[in-house]
Amino acid sequence: MKPWPPSAVRQSLIGCPSCELLCKAPARFDGQIRMRCPRCGAVLHTRKPNSLARTWALVIAALIFYIPANMLPIMTVTSLGKTQSDTILSGAAYLLLHGMWPLALLIFFASVVVPLLKLVILIYLLISVQLHSRWRPRDRTRLYRITEAIGRWSMVDIYVVTILVALVHLGNLATIRAETGAVFFGAVVVITIFAALTFDPRLIWDSLEKNHE
């Protein structure tokens, strides 16, 4: 592997997270003092504070919420006296049975695969950083980029429920109500977005430098 020059933190330099200005870190910068970027005022950190612990906490919270999000119904359709509750999976199955398989695939991918994939990738990244793995850091950084980009698309089911609730509003003829599963599902999406934001991909690269010492 090509030897890279030492990273900014080892030359007492911090890149501003917001405007990218390169700032000089004070001689003993241990996080005790709050340093701000002279240009944009953002708080400077050599690495995101407590990144591993915070990301773990959020990942575990999301995993816990993921269970009721999938077990509980996300909406109930009342039509001519008949009520039918749908979970995320049964909603996708309904679409599949009615021949709308591209849509079923889309919902299954956005609502079931994406959140789970995101959590699995984050857990893998967390463990690999904690084990000081030096294995394919470039690909692991790419995995991180994927988790950052795909998370938002899980919101699609929440929006579908919102739109259906607004549209199907016909008294006894047909009404749709949102159910608790949707709340948990929304929480999973928001928590995983925060989890991706608190993970610091630079930690992946730090292990490579430590082993040179």
């Binding site: 890279w4 020059p5 030492p6 990273s7 900014a8 933190v9 330099l13 911090i14 890149g15 917001s18 405007c19 990218e20 200005l21 390169l22 002279p38 240009r39 944009c40 005022g41 953002a42 709308m100 849509l103 889309l106 919902i107 850091p137 470039r138 950084t141 790419r142 980029r145 938002r152 698309w153 919101m155 699609v156 089911d157 929440i158 929006y159 579908v160 429920v161 919102t162 739109i163 259906l164 609730v165 607004a166 549209l167 199907v168 016909l170 003829l173 047909a174 109500r177 949102a178 709340v183 929304g186 929480a187 928001v190 977005i193 934001l197 991909p201 630079r202 992946i204 690269w205 730090d206």
Partner: protein, 202 residues
């Protein structure tokens, strides 16, 4: 002066000289491959024009009828905001807040602040609190989810198409256009051009 062209990669912390991107291309970090700088021609003017168009479309999308749903002679007409109020009335205030935040508040604040930043710059002035405002804009970016909402609309329409007639309203077309305008505005913006305008004492 030399320090200004030196940057550190935000994804792997590699210290490097920032090379200007080739026209139409981008500069990537040689170590981790993160995009460091993308070439954007006439960035501020184009972003300003697109944000202005975006704000007009946003207002149309939020004031005109969005979708109407017709079933056995009964019609419900909705606006973009109706879903939020209905969720709230069903006791789902958390969901209502989430939808309100990601599809209405964030895009509205983003468009307004973008104009607040770009109009004075266009007129040769520096807007007050430029650094703080622009930082807030960057923080809000991951929370604006209009394009996901558009996908939600498509899914809902297909789902209901078998049961009833869906009549698209003017707001729906405005909303569809708005997605492209917002994406184009985000693609046109070169944050470096804005940060250059911030005066500071190093």
């Amino acid at each position: 002066m030399n320090q200004q062209t030196r940057i550190t990669c935000h994804e792997c912390d590699l210290l490097q000289q920032l090379k200007p991107p080739p026209p139409g291309g981008c500069t990537r970090c040689p170590r981790c491959g993160a995009v460091l700088h993308r070439s954007k021609r006439n960035s501020l003017n184009r972003t300003l024009a697109l944000s202005l168009a975006g704000l007009i479309l946003f207002i149309i999308a939020n004031t005109f009828p969005f979708l109407a749903f017709e079933m056995q002679g009964q019609i419900t007409e909705t606006q973009l905001f109706t879903g939020v109020t209905d969720l709230y009335h069903q006791g789902m205030w958390g969901l209502a807040a989430l939808v309100l935040f990601t599809t209405i508040i964030v895009p509205a604040v983003q468009l307004t602040l973008m104009l607040y930043v770009l109009v004075p710059i266009k007129l040769g002035r520096t807007p007050g609190h430029l650094a703080g405002v622009f930082r807030l804009l960057q923080t809000l970016t991951p929370w604006g989810m209009m394009e996901v909402f558009m996908l939600g609309i498509l899914v809902s329409v297909v789902k209901l198409a078998g049961m009833a007639t869906i009549v698209p309203g003017l707001a729906l077309w405005a909303f569809g256009l708005l997605i492209f305008v917002l994406a184009a505005a985000a693609a046109a913006l070169d944050p470096h051009r804005v940060w250059e305008k911030v005066r500071y004492a190093p």
